[in-house]
């Protein structure tokens, strides 16, 4: 387990994913607002490499990852709907309650 985690780590480091973070870190992070796990567009992976952001389904916001540093400051959060339009991943049903 640990080996796998550190392999993922080194891979992420070598890959210099400016818009991604190591899985081991992603597993530990929660949404700063809801304290619920962060996910990525309902994919099994809990962080979304494609859109370069971490998504909090509970409060329907996303947090950016810049230069490999996730920004989990509540005031930097973006409403999910805006993100979806940009990344054209309109698969997620919208809540009318917003």
């Amino acid at each position: 387990m640990r080996r796998t985690a550190s392999m993922l780590f080194s891979h992420a480091g070598a890959g210099a994913g400016r818009r991604s973070i190591p899985q081991a870190l992603a597993d530990l992070l929660v949404c700063p607002l809801s304290k619920k796990p962060l996910s990525a567009c309902r994919l099994p992976s809990r962080y979304c490499e494609a859109s370069g952001s971490l998504v909090s389904d509970a409060v329907r916001v996303s947090f950016p990852i810049e230069d490999g540093i996730p920004s989990l400051v509540p005031k930097d959060a973006k409403f999910l709907e805006d993100d979806m339009e940009k990344s054209e991943q309109g698969q997620i049903p919208r809540d009318s309650s917003g």
Partner: protein, 303 residues
Amino acid sequence: MALRAARRLASCSRQGRLLLPSQPQAQCNPPAAAAAAFLHSHATSFGYKQVREEEKSRLVGNVFSSVASSYDLMNDLMSVGLHRLWKDRLVSQLNPFPGMKHLDVAGGTGDVAFRVLERIKSVGHRAMQGTLTDAEEDTHIYVCDINPNMLNVGKKRAAERGYNEEHCLSWIQGDAEALSFEDGSMDGYTIAFGIRNVTHIEKALSEAYRVLKRGGRFLCLELSHVDVPVFKEIYDVYSFSVVPTMGELVAGDRQSYQYLVESIRRFPNQEKFAQMIQEAGFERVEYENLVGGVVAIHSGLKL
């Protein structure tokens, strides 16, 4: 030589320890906490200025963005190198161990994180081969800072120190008042020269409590209140005349350093802050004054 002199000064510092009587009724009392939050005014201090709460985080952000590049140099100058010894002291009180999960808040430039890492390594090597190297691999230090400029300085320094190949350091931009870590996920929590700058100290303390495991330790290094006669006067002159001028000359930013010295005076004194830590739920709360209270290290356990 300067370092030796600094050490001498640090060692003749007056040290006061206090163990607060436990107040079980004050702890774990959500209605009281809610009432306190309710009574909290919506104006807050930015140095001696009264500003709106939303303003403070922006203004503090400006301060740190503006001084990020000269931050370490200014720390050395202002504290005559003492901040290094204070951080060493903080980390030695933490007593880091191989395999620990540690969160350092407001530590963007990596000063505390690197010390924790170095100490774990030296402990690991002393304890010898095999079992502990495995534990060492599990070690993870999370550096959380609200300011991206400070984090970038830290990341760069980590690379310069050859830490870029290591898997045990993570950098996260986050707010001390709304941490993004799971409940009970950390063995240790440190915050050095950071808590003074958060808008709601009590929120930061309750978040620290939340992310710590049972048995986890909270440690806070902060500029505090000097109460030694004569020395207090000298310290005041130094703070209000020398520091802002130095800030202007070295960092080209007088205002940020004016804010710094004012915010120190606004921060609750040692006893009051110890009480706040206890109100957040921590036990065995104590503090240690260094250099007559210029800085204090507060500590508490989540039991």
